[in-house]
Structure formats: structure tokens, C-alpha cells
């Protein structure tokens, strides 16, 4: 038993990479992929790993590490692959030296994402070998196999994961690490310099590689038949295979695919001929179904199975057999429990002050502060993607100006997101004479994904001290006037208010940096010496309270509005925002 471990898919990918002799890993955190690198950091005596500022940088660094001869991995969530798509497509041309694996995690059902996209389409578009594990043991095995196949076919391998594979735990057996070391590096301009003359040759060569990979796909063990009955055959991959096994049971036959690009069409043809009715069970797009039908094989897929949202056994059972399990129900309804900014969150004070400003548009970004859009603050107008706040704000401000509107624009972005892709946007604002106000919410950590270091925190993933990016200096270096850069404490409403008023009144681009650590952060010595983080609580003097609910309108989850208004002592951190909005001086800070 002692060799068996219960691991999440993410932990298993990290373990697989470690066992495969990985030398270099780089990633940007994003749910559901984050724990891959966090787990790799536990093996830091044997390998190097880092948080990159964004996914494109992470993948490029991994490509460089691979060309230098080391086995390398980049990890990201599905939308991160959009950011990294530029190097990804051309890496399929250059190929690799040390094995290169891209672990890309889709989020069907959008548990923690701004969109739902099926990244298997990237494998087709970029012509990448793709592996799809369906549980944690496969996540480990396929990661190891990925490095081997990457070297064998001279091709980056995409390891496609989904939320339920990433975050479900199942049993994994450990093996020893193979110390493969770095392969020798040889300068090879025709292989690695993708000017058109070389790239055209590589493009043609890619067709040969595709044929070789397809041949492997048709013969490899991870694309396996489980022949039982002849009535129903099921082709499936990833976690959908697990659902299918529960729904179709031991009577059906299965073709379980571990390698889904190139598809094993010969094997599929052979399987199809053995069963009377063929189902393709897959989450999101009809990715496999389309290719199977194109090959002239009849199958049932998205005509019954939903083409969006997460699948589960209920959905498949109902779709295929029209069966539903008997359930209990109640006339009473549970009130929704939407996520909210934490009690003591430094973003609350800023958003409260911002929500009082009239005639503004607020472009938002991706992070905990996206919750600024929730009631009662409702202080955001837009959220699209990482880094979009500043650039969208710039475009919006230009149009308001051109149409003689006096509407002003405030862009709101977190520290990690600013480093990710907000800096280039801010250059657009400063260089092209923008007029928006950009607010960098610097809470000293990457919050939403669970506290990863970033270039502003002064620590690396491997726990080493690093030189922090100086945000005000950076803003100056890209053309922001010194007098237009404000640094404020977001928990001091008057300070935030004054900075917003001054910046909004200017006809020049401005930056406001709100600087206070995330309330959930494990504070560093530097945090403790830079900020007053001593424990405090706020209490309401019931004699003074007139129940005006101004404090309730800050949206703090520690404040409860019933017959009386009270503050939950356990969750209150004494941030004092409620005390500042109370018109009757009824809220006091106590030790």
C-alpha cells in the first residue's frame, strides 16, 4: 500500500514530470492548472521551476529549455493557451531537443473561468500530438509518455486536462525519477530559425510527422479496446470515459482513447465494425465526432449529448437512455451563496469609494477584484480577459472623447494581472496620449488562484528572494508623469476618494496604485514592517446605531443585517471600512 498515493490529476502531472527527469518548468497560475507547478516546487532539489509573468513567457521559456536539451514543461489554464498560442504554433515547426510538454487545463462548466473553450481544437490547428488522461494514474503515466513521444516525434506534446481530472483525487503508484539529464545542444539554424525559407521546409515536413504520429496513434496501447457486448460501442476519452463506464456499464464495449491527436481512425473503423450502435461520449465540442464522421464512420454524439457545460453521469444517462434517478426534493429553497470579497479584503475600500463616482465607466480585469462587479458595490462595467482593463479603458476613453461625452474611464487591474499583460496596455495609454485612469490593485500576491508569488512580491516559486518590480518606477519609465502616479492605502476611503477625484480631473493619463496585502496572505517580514497588520476588530455600539445600513452596503461578509446590525467577531479583521462609512459614529475599532 505504501507506494499508492491519492493524488489530484495536477499533483500526478507534477509527479510524472519529476519521474521523467524534468529539468525546467514554467507556468502562470490559473484554475484548474495551478497546483501542477505548486507541486513541482516540492521537488525543487531535483529540478528548476518558476512562475512566469504570463503563459506566453512560460511556454517560450520552456521551448528554450527544451532546445537547450532539458526536458521542459509549461502549464496553464485553457485561456492561457490563447496567450501562448503564438509560440505554440511555431514550436510544432521547430520541434524539440529535450522533450517538451504543454499541460493545458480546460474548465468545462466554467467553475472558475470567463469562458468555456475546448482546447483540443488547438491540437488540430497547431498539429500537436495530444494526450488526454482520464484519472490521476493516467495523468502521471501520460506526462511521462509525453516526454518520450515529444523526443521520438520531435514535436511538443499537449497534455490536455479538464477540471475534474485536475482536481479529482485517485490512486497513483509512484516510481523512481529517471535522471535523463540534458541532451547535447547543437546549433541548427534550419531547425530553430523560423524565417520563411526554413519554415516552409518545416511546414512540409510536418505532414510526414503527422503521418508517423497517426500510425503510432493506431497502434499504441493507450488507445485501447475493451470488447464486451456487441450491441453498444462507446468511444470516449478523458474524464468522459469514466462517466461513460458508469452509464453504459459492463455490457457495452469501449474504445478508450488516451491519444486524441492525431486520431486513430483505423482503430476506430475496426471498433465500429464490431458493434451495432456507436456512441461518442465527449465533453464540449464534437471534436472526436467530427473527425470520426469525416472518416465516413456513422456514430451518435452531439445529437444527444450536450455540446457545452460539464458532463456527468446524470446528463449522459438521461441523454442516451432517458433515465433519471429518483430524487428527494423540497418546497423550501436554499438562498444563493455567491462568492464575495473576504472580510477585510483591501479591494473593498477602493471599490466602495469608486462606486460613489458618477459618470464613469470602469473596465475590470481577471482576479478576486472581479467580485467588485457583485452587488452591493456593482462597481465594474466590463471584464473580458487578462490585461484587458487598461487597453479596453484606453479605447473607451478615446471614443467618449471623440463623441464629446464627458464620461471618464477608470481601468482596474490587480498586481499579478498587471505584470501578466497590463504593462503593454499601459504603454498604449501613455504613448498614444490616453486619458483614462488606470488603477493597479497591489495586494502583494496573486490572490484568486490561492497566493502564488509574482514579480511584485519579492519571492520566487522556489522560495528564493528576488528583486521586486517597482511599479511606480515602471510606470514612470514607460512615460507616466511622476505627478500623475498616486499610491494610496485602499482601506482609507478619504485617501482613495481624493486620489480618484484628482486623477479624474486631469486631462492626462494617471495611475493610482492601491497598496495593501491580501487579508488571507501569509505575511512576510516585509509586509509586517511596511503595513500595520496588528489584529483588530470592529464593533457596533447598538445605542448609537440607527440601522441606516450604510455599513451593510459595503458588502462585507462579517456584517449581519437582522433585527439589529452586528459584526461577526470571528470573521472581522478590523479593516475599518465600515467605521468610515457610518454616519453616526456607531462603529468603533477595538483590540
Amino acid at each position: 500500500m505504501n507506494n499508492k498515493h491519492l493524488l489530484t490529476g495536477n499533483e500526478a502531472v507534477a509527479r510524472g514530470a519529476y519521474e521523467a527527469g524534468l529539468m525546467f518548468a514554467s507556468a502562470y497560475p490559473g484554475t484548474p492548472s495551478t497546483e501542477i507547478l505548486e507541486t513541482l516546487a516540492e521537488y525543487k532539489d531535483s529540478l528548476y521551476c518558476e512562475w512566469a509573468p504570463n503563459e506566453k513567457v512560460a511556454l517560450e521559456a520552456a521551448i528554450g529549455a527544451s532546445i537547450a536539451g532539458g526536458r521542459a514543461l509549461a502549464a496553464m489554464k485553457h485561456v492561457g493557451v490563447n496567450v501562448a498560442a503564438d509560440p505554440l504554433f511555431t514550436a510544432a515547426y521547430t520541434g524539440v531537443n529535450g522533450g517538451l510538454v504543454l499541460a493545458a487545463a480546460d474548465d468545462p462548466g466554467q467553475h472558475s473561468s470567463q469562458n468555456e473553450q475546448d482546447n483540443r481544437n488547438y491540437a488540430i490547428a497547431a498539429r500537436l500530438l495530444m494526450l488526454e488522461p482520464s484519472d490521476s494514474q493516467e495523468a502521471k503515466d501520460f506526462t511521462k509518455l509525453g516526454f518520450e513521444l515529444s523526443e521520438r516525434f520531435d514535436m511538443p506534446v499537449m497534455l490536455r486536462l479538464t477540471t475534474r481530472v485536475c482536481h479529482s483525487k485517485s490512486v497513483v503508484e509512484f516510481e523512481e525519477r529517471q535522471e535523463v539529464g540534458a541532451k547535447p545542444y547543437e546549433k541548427d539554424i534550419r531547425k530553430y530559425v523560423m524565417v520563411p525559407a526554413n519554415a516552409k521546409v518545416k511546414r512540409a515536413h510536418l505532414e510526414d510527422v503527422l503521418r508517423a504520429m497517426a500510425e503510432y496513434s493506431n497502434t499504441c496501447e493507450i488507445n485501447r479496446e475493451e470488447i464486451n457486448g456487441t450491441e453498444i460501442g462507446v468511444i470516449s476519452a478523458g474524464v468522459a470515459y469514466q462517466y461513460a463506464k458508469d452509464v453504459f456499464g459492463p455490457e457495452a464495449s469501449y474504445l478508450k482513447l488516451g491519444m486524441t491527436y492525431p486520431m486513430p481512425l483505423e482503430k476506430i473503423k475496426a471498433f465500429a465494425s464490431k458493434v451495432k450502435k456507436l456512441y461518442v461520449i465527449e465533453e464540449m465540442d464534437p471534436y472526436m465526432e467530427r473527425q470520426i464522421k469525416e472518416a465516413g464512420i456513422d456514430c451518435i454524439g452531439k445529437d444527444v449529448i450536450p455540446a457545452y457545460d460539464e458532463l456527468n453521469t446524470d446528463i449522459i444517462r438521461k441523454a442516451v437512455f432517458g433515465e433519471e434517478a429518483p430524487t428527494l426534493s423540497s418546497d423550501k429553497t436554499a438562498v444563493v451563496r455567491p462568492p464575495a470579497m473576504c472580510a477585510g479584503c483591501p479591494h473593498r475600500g477602493f471599490f466602495y469609494a469608486l462606486s460613489k463616482k458618477k459618470n464613469i465607466m470602469v473596465t475590470g480585469d481577471i482576479g478576486c477584484y472581479t467580485l467588485g462587479a457583485a452587488a452591493p458595490l456593482a462597481a465594474l462595467d466590463t471584464t473580458v480577459c487578462m490585461g484587458a482593463s487598461i487597453s479596453m479603458g484606453h479605447g473607451a476613453a478615446k471614443v467618449f472623447r471623440a463623441s464629446n461625452s464627458d464620461k471618464k474611464v477608470v481601468a482596474v487591474i490587480g498586481d499579478s494581472t498587471f505584470f501578466h499583460s497590463g504593462i503593454t496596455s499601459l504603454i498604449d495609454v501613455t504613448y498614444n496620449k490616453g486619458v483614462s485612469v488606470s488603477v493597479i490593485l497591489d495586494n502583494r500576491i496573486t490572490g484568486m488562484t490561492g497566493h502564488q508569488q509574482n514579480p511584485g512580491t519579492g519571492l520566487t516559486l522556489m522560495g528564493e528572494p528576488a528583486v521586486e518590480v517597482d511599479i511606480p518606477m515602471l510606470c514612470q519609465a514607460i512615460g507616466m508623469k511622476k505627478e500623475n502616479i498616486y499610491t494610496v492605502n485602499p482601506l482609507k476611503l478619504a485617501e482613495v476618494d481624493a486620489a480618484l477625484d484628482e486623477a479624474l480631473a486631469k486631462d492626462e493619463p494617471c495611475v493610482i496604485i492601491t497598496k495593501w496585502p491580501c487579508v488571507l496572505k501569509k505575511f512576510t517580514q516585509e509586509d509586517k514592517s511596511s503595513f500595520d497588520l496588528s489584529p483588530k476588530k470592529c464593533v457596533i455600539d447598538q445605542e448609537k446605531c440607527r440601522k441606516c445600513k450604510m455599513c451593510v452596503k459595503t458588502g462585507c461578509p462579517a456584517i449581519y443585517s437582522g433585527d439589529t446590525i452586528t459584526i461577526n467577531r470571528e470573521s472581522c479583521t478590523g479593516c475599518g471600512v465600515c467605521a468610515q462609512v457610518c454616519p453616526f459614529d456607531a462603529i468603533k475599532e477595538v483590540k
Binding site: 483525487k169 485517485s170 428527494l328 423550501k332 438562498v335 444563493v336 445600513k549
Partner: protein
């Protein structure tokens, strides 16, 4: 061995559902079961409702539990028991912490915490209702509420052949081993 059993732990972010499910899975794994456990990370942690699903048996496929499939639901908060009732197998059991945590709309006074939830659930299913939070507080550490509920769950599962004390010791910090074991037995005594 046996057919697959389904356990659902539901609550509010920060209540310790994940540690409880980790200890449960460790015990089951040690006893030789195939175990799968699924949870959702990310946005839901910020005060939203959370769920952890554990399936175990000889061979487990899907890591998630469907509607009407849970043999036991452990609700760390009262209203969450109501939210997940459709997942309970008809004839299944609910272990419920008699403890209300209002959600943001309730705190803001725009919605009301539903009344009579416990009576409603008791009329629909086999329930064990007790004040796990209070028991943990009386033991001297309110955070052990999750282990009080784990104790009740394990009792309801009726698997005395598993070394649960070891599973707890392996998964909590040394200084908190004894208090957690006390909490475990205090919870077991409630079922």
C-alpha cells in the same frame, strides 16, 4: 468487495470540508478500497458554497456523484443540506450540523434564511442533527467542527475495521492530534 458508495460533504468555504474528506479518503485507501475524491477550487473559495465528493468501492469510475446517488450527505451548514438534497439517494442518510451561516444576500437583508429547514429535512430523510460547532467549541477548538462531523459520518458508515485514529494523526499537525481525536469520538457519539 462491494458496490460503490457515495459520500458528499457540503458546506461553506473555510469550514474544513477538504481536511475531513482527506482523512476519510486516507482511511478508505489504507483499507484497500479504490477511492476517488473530487472538489472544486478557485472562485468558490471566496465565501461560496463548497462540496467534496468521495466515491469508494472495488473499482470506481466517475469521480463525481450524480443526483439521487449519495448514500450519505454531511452538511457542515444547515442550509447547504437543503441545497444538496436532490443528490441524496432515496433512503439515504444526512448528517447535519445545526449551524446557520447566512449568505451575503441574507446578510444584506435582501433574502431571508429559510425557516424550518431541519424539520423539513427530517420529514424527508433519515437525519442525524446536532450542534457540531458547539461541541467543537466545548472541546476547546471550534475549528475541530469538521472532525466532529467526520466522526459522525464514520459512525454512520459503520466501518470499525479501519484505523481512523491513524488516518487523523497522519493528516493533522502533531499539536492538534489529540484534540482532533477527541472531536472525532465526540461526533461518533452523536449518531
Amino acid at each position: 468487495m462491494s458496490e460503490t458508495k457515495n459520500i458528499l460533504l457540503v458546506g461553506v468555504g473555510g469550514q474544513g470540508t477538504i481536511l475531513a474528506s482527506k482523512i476519510l479518503s486516507a482511511g478508505l485507501l489504507e483499507a484497500g478500497y479504490d477511492v476517488k475524491m473530487s472538489e472544486i477550487h478557485g472562485m468558490s473559495q471566496r465565501g461560496g458554497n463548497v462540496s467534496t465528493q468521495i466515491r469508494f468501492g472495488e473499482k470506481v469510475y466517475s469521480p463525481i456523484i450524480g443526483k439521487g446517488e449519495a448514500d450519505i450527505i454531511v452538511a457542515f451548514e444547515t442550509m447547504e443540506a437543503l441545497r444538496w438534497i436532490s443528490c441524496l439517494k432515496v433512503g439515504g442518510k444526512m448528517v447535519i450540523n445545526d449551524h446557520e451561516i447566512p449568505s451575503v444576500p441574507i446578510q444584506m437583508g435582501v433574502a431571508e434564511y429559510p425557516e424550518g429547514v431541519l424539520e423539513e429535512l427530517a420529514s424527508k430523510a433519515d437525519v442525524s442533527i446536532f450542534k457540531a460547532s458547539q461541541i467543537a467549541e466545548e472541546l476547546g477548538n471550534p475549528k475541530t467542527m469538521n472532525i466532529v462531523l467526520l466522526g459522525a459520518l464514520v459512525k454512520a458508515l459503520n466501518m470499525p475495521h479501519i484505523d481512523w485514529e491513524k488516518a487523523i494523526r497522519d493528516n493533522v499537525k502533531k499539536d492538534f492530534e489529540d484534540i482532533n481525536i477527541q472531536a472525532f469520538y465526540a461526533g461518533a457519539a452523536q449518531v
